[in-house]
Assembly symmetry: C2
Homo-oligomer: 348 residues x 2
């Protein structure tokens, strides 16, 4: 699968920026005192991560400024009125917010592992994980306050960051609520996905435009790009859970079905009269056989539910690419289009 040229380009774009992003995280979130608190706060960020959102943010800066990729120092991005803006700080801020949400989510979902290493509440303890998340939360705002952007733009980026965090919390609450609800409409599911996952992509894409004082329609277009591609990413995740062999997935294929997790696929299937709750009868993912998953997937395919989700993800990616038309036609914009494609073409 790594011979797909779009995927190659995206992975190269990510790779070319990852070193700078990691160095910036280290600079902006140093190991301060109290040391144990900051060790726990940095632990998950140091454990890795593709840095896809920061890459989106840095490419958006280059697309908006209409400069060749990697030609300008991200810490001193020029604006029309001569101000130098640290667009890297915006990218770091959002990566830190992402890390905070993962730490608190892992406590709430009781997930012992994250990125192949023990979750923060396992490596330390629940209290430390709560406090580490809280520390990352405000640190992200501190970093976003220091981009050097014009005050009105800096304030707007902070306002958007706060709104993003509120929406992520709302999305997480909806996700929990849906587990206890009799019926969830596909539109409601999409609203949840937008809040829980996609707003962070929207914010990552729009923030550099705000900081660089771009026109409102460019800011809005980039936000929409992130919302649409980020939603597609999550829907594709649901498809992959059912269609990719366990050894590539890194977890049991079909585990969403065992956990009774509602997805766009199961919600569509219910509307088609499929007995979703009876699709598999395993109690946990480890007792799930590949045959049982095959049979369940066959039923869902017959109901058109997997195709429905694939189509939805595909149409969201098309929308995200069309959102980008508000930006100048340049290499960075074309790489943002690639990333949107990659989010649904990736194998796992």
């Amino acid at each position: 699968m790594t011979t797909d040229p779009t995927e190659e380009r995206v992975l190269a774009a990510v790779r070319e920026r990852r070193g700078q992003v990691n160095a910036a995280i280290d600079e902006d979130l140093p190991l301060a005192a109290p040391e144990r608190l900051y060790e726990a706060s940095r632990y998950l960020l140091k454990a890795g991560g593709k840095r896809l959102r920061p890459t989106v943010s840095l490419l958006a800066a280059e697309a908006v400024a209409d400069v060749p990729p990697l030609s300008v120092d991200y810490r001193a991005f020029p604006t029309a009125d001569g101000v130098k803006v640290d667009v890297m700080a915006g990218a770091v801020s959002l990566e830190i917010i992402q890390s905070f949400t993962l730490i608190h989510d892992d406590i709430m979902d009781d997930d012992p592992l994250r990125r192949g290493v023990p979750a923060v509440h396992e490596a330390y303890d629940v209290d430390t994980a709560i406090l580490a998340g809280d520390t990352l939360y405000s640190t992200a705002f501190e970093i976003m306050a220091e981009t050097g952007a014009a005050p009105a733009n800096g304030l707007e980026a902070m306002r958007m960051l706060a709104n993003t965090c509120t929406r992520i919390c709302e999305g997480q609450a909806l996700d929990v609520e849906f587990e206890h609800r009799k019926t969830v409409l596909p539109e409601e599911y999409l609203e949840m996905v937008e809040s829980k996952t996609a707003v962070l992509y929207g914010d990552a894409a729009a923030t550099p435009a705000i900081l660089l004082d771009a026109d409102d329609d460019v800011v809005d277009a980039l936000y929409d790009y992130g919302i649409h591609s980020g939603s597609a990413f999550q829907i594709q995740d649901d498809v992959l859970d059912l269609t990719v062999p366990s050894e590539h997935l890194g977890k049991q294929r079909g585990s969403d079905l065992v956990e009774n997790k509602e997805t766009l696929i199961t919600l569509h299937a219910r509307q088609q009269g499929v007995d979703v709750d009876g699709l598999v009868d395993a109690d946990d993912a480890t007792s799930l056989t590949d045959e049982a998953v095959e049979a369940a997937v066959g039923t869902l395919e017959q109901a058109g539910s997997i195709e429905y989700a694939r189509e939805k993800a595909r149409s969201l990616v098309e929308r995200s690419k069309s959102d980008l038309k508000a930006l100048p036609d340049n290499e960075a914009r074309s790489m943002l289009e690639d990333i949107a494609e990659y989010l649904i073409s990736r194998g796992y």
Copy 2:
């Protein structure tokens, strides 16, 4: 004790503003969807609270603007350049941050009660309490972003708010760290108190000055006023735990000693050679007798430790009153002085 004229004036000032503050909290943090999330988020704020910090904030606005108390709409406070500023939003934002920290602290400290009602993690569950706290966190930043202040001032208020939250987290981490440390110096304890408790007073006092575009020395003076009086408040809390009868305290007198909580008093006593760990031998507060507390207090008094803490609180209050000299001499400033006095003269 309620016949003390300073206390009377302070309680009147708080009472006269509480209705407006509560209404503003309701307006700025409405019961939105998902409803259970916002119910849990609002639960502790609705359970009461004196609203001392918002009162400090509103009085600081009046002192800086040099207007008579309660003469100007807090939602439309005039500035020199004609901008109207919502100083109430700043006060609400900080009260919401305070509420978030209490919710997460109660989880970490495993405290079942708060303000006489079950803590949020008891009334709901731990996951909901984590998420409710996270929601309040970002909502506070959203509200602070909407004060209508000039962008540079709005951004500075957001930056200070973020720094305040980081310092509160650091203070909480230090507090936990001290429980496991062999030696803690009184200076380190004061640093912890400043972070954990006092910065929120500093921020509450300084925010209106920032929003109203006051000179830097006025902003700094109000911040220092809050730091000094807030630290005094916490030290006085430690004194009261030992010196006020249980029935007034609302909890067992001397409970800090049973919980081996280090305070300025115990740290001073250790330096004087007192065997602090052997002061009381009860395993929990309920098995602690008043005689045992009397004896322990007698030992601490003989070592000069209670007087040392009282003196420290007193000198901090004097400093906080002297900080205020950077402000115009008016009724609101005099009420801020009263509040500083009240923080250490209050009986319980």
